[in-house]
Amino acid sequence: MENDVHIWQKFKSGDRAVFESMIRDHYRTLFDYGKKLITDQDALTDCIHDLFTTLWDRREFLGTTDQIKPYLLKSLRNRIFKEKQRSTIFISLEDGDELFLNDENIESRIISSEHTDETKKQIGYVLHTLTHRQQEIIYLKFYENLTNDQIATVLGITRPAVANLLHITLKLFREKWEALLHTILLFILSI
């Protein structure tokens, strides 16, 4: 992304306007992604705040990047992970040691959006039965529309590993969905 290189350079040279538009462009993405990693909204906005202020403070020492969005997502992910490690108690209250939260909102959001479609309910249900990591990769790929390269950056794994994980996850998703459809079909037939 030629554009990102340019924006990043301007930001590094201390351009406040570019910094501001960078925050505006990415804040919502970071917030929505962060919401899935930590439930405490104050802690989350603090993390994002600290992420940007640290970037600004250290801008002269930062390397170049042509991938601002994955870079920010990755930094936020690390921050939240650290924050959670520090406040061990919050982990124990927030259910589970895996980073990605089992988000009931995905389901309710799908249900509430547009028409309460049966298919959407099913999708939400099946998604729910996946592991946190599997949900996270679906989120990054299809909600955030990141490329495999970008997902690799965010999760800190290799590109082939991303492709592999995606493939396994979607295959599992299909199988579970088919099983669900099958059950529903049997149920309808039995009435």
Binding site: T45, F52, L93, F142
Partner: protein, 360 residues
Amino acid sequence: MKYYDKYNLEDFLLDENFRLWVVQKDQAGDDFWARIEGQYPDKKIIMQQARELLLTWNQTHSELSEDNLEKQVSRILTSTEAPVIQPVAFNFMRTWVSVAASVLLILATGWGISWKMQHEEPASDYRQYVSRVPVPMKEIVNQTGKKMSVKLPDGSVVALSPASRISYAHTFINNKKREVYLSGEAFFDVEKDALNPFFVYAHGLVTRVVGTSFLIKTTEANVEVLVRSGRVSVLAMKDIDSQNNRNTELLLTPNQQAIFSTKDNLISKSISSMPLELIKPETQSGFVFQDQPVHKVFATLEKVYGIPIVYDSAVMEKCSLHVELSNEPFFTKLDIISQTIGASYRVSDGQVVVSSEGCD
């Protein structure tokens, strides 16, 4: 040519062209995919499913309101503003959030300041740092024999113990911070205001909160911070400016306590000697356990008191409890439980660590 006849749901999902066609409503793809659909009629349903999935996933309903977004953006912009030249000591105080300020400050004023910071006594003494604050301050001293309730301009309430004093600026919120200086002992019940965090400076220790309640007690030798509700972070004042030392910042949760030794500038984490119930037990039976596995008992205690309990679940797998507890203090409950199952415990780093040889 791709082998669409072999395509499964996941293959369509991962097909970049297919995804772009669905998500970006790329009309150029219409003909192509209609042709594929005609060519492989048995793939029609799968393609339909894949489209539905992609569309569902692509609808992002952000939980963040426009208002909140604006607030957060301006909060970041304010904290990263270049510092106005101010007296040294004041900058020393206000650079918690913006480390930039300190970096620029040191660059701007050169070695003079860093020399000063290393060789002067840190501004840990109450009088010393109150006198350095450049804005008009209000001081309240409790000369009575009982606790005094002080309402701060932001609505927060301070219960000031006898022979204790606090100071704060007349215009309470400065640089998006609410700052109070304490000598002695006080219980703080802080109004929630995420945009203007609340800071208490006491005898070399900085306590930072957003909205919560906690007690601070200063003596000659140490500062104790005990959390009643919410989250509180503490940091030695000498570490404020140094980014490397920011990891000495400790996060406290209810019923946890930090003890800061002013002599060696060390903070340790512990548990309140008399933890309070944060929530009521979820179950009707409360603390009545009838032949319950020990992990359930510990989970209930953790939840109610907010104190992490660490134990080896494999070793203690077979331990079960038949015990009725009610209003005993937390540590009495722990005594009863550990005696019943023949275990022992100690408090370490704000957690309870239970050791046991297991049960048969």
